[in-house]
Symmetry: C2
Subunit: 149 residues, 2 copies
DNA sequence: GTTGACCTTAGAGTAGACTCTAAGCTTATA
DNA sequence: TATAAGCTTAGAGTCTACTCTAAGGTCAAC
């Protein structure tokens, strides 16, 4: 059985984060010492590592909660439920990538247009573009898409 | 001279957002009525539109503050200062894209590995992968990179 | 003169994932 | 027995960019 700092060392999460996860229903210690110290079993460790792996992939704590509830009773859940969560996450990721690529393109165009030198900004083509609003962008479009979800 | 709701209509920002921007030093009304109503000049409108364009590209409010201080006195600033801000933003965007592409790849691999059907999750390969921590990921790497900035 | 639309302010709330603090107990070691 | 390290809790703070609320003042029209 591990104390919280030992689990922290083992998982790379901090003790603070582990308590935070407990408060949010993700990981709790199966046992407590008489004084209230958390003691984690091997099974708790595996759960904590599951959470860490899922978090590293990019799942939200909310996604992880769902995955955990499947994990504790796999016979009551189907593969489809798991792939639904995964696919939904992938959709989000794809959407964000699109947004960022749009920004990337705009920023590259701006950078290409400007000398970037010690010249005064009076005729800086980036400033001009911003002033004239002549920057094609898709942020709002993406925002709308996000809200449609 | 425009009242706040008129500027809101013209820019697509809300009156709430305009007041929020004022509180944060981005846009303020050059004039006030005796009763305290904000009245925006043509020059204020152009500034507001500049802010909106920059925000749509993806610049943070902090970036925009910097761009605005260049804008009001272009003869004291160089193109390089403008490109520095832009390039820094581009670096951030590129970094985030990399992170997201890493997630995207992982999610695609997970989805490919699972049948996604009505089968019980007892042998779901996504759950197995999460349990075994066998998911290559780069989030921490990216996190470290972020902190180095 | 009254209705209704619009304006003002300070300040609280939201989301997500932590991160930290304060005040006080527990435990191991010298 | 004293010290230091480590544990507990509740709750506040951080970051970004809003978003909303409450309580009240203003203005044009009928």
């Amino acid at each position: 059985m591990l104390k919280i700092s030992e689990l922290a060392a083992k998982t790379g999460l901090t003790a603070h984060t582990l308590r935070f996860y407990e408060k949010n229903g993700l990981i709790s210690a199966s046992n407590r010492s008489p004084a209230g110290y958390r003691y984690y079993t091997e099974s708790d460790v595996r759960r904590a590592e599951f959470v860490k792996t899922a978090r590293n992939i990019g799942f939200s704590l909310d996604d992880i909660s769902q995955l955990l509830s499947i994990r504790v009773d796999k016979t009551s859940h189907s593969c489809q439920e798991v792939t639904d969560i995964t696919r939904h996450k992938l959709d989000e990721v794809n959407e964000k990538i699109k947004e960022l690529q749009s920004m990337q393109q705009t920023l590259n165009i701006l950078l290409d247009s400007c000398c970037g030198g010690p010249e005064l900004a009076t005729q800086c083509s980036i400033m001009e573009a911003l002033d004239e609003g002549e920057v094609r962008n898709q942020r709002n479009k993406h925002k709308k898409l996000e809200k449609q979800k």
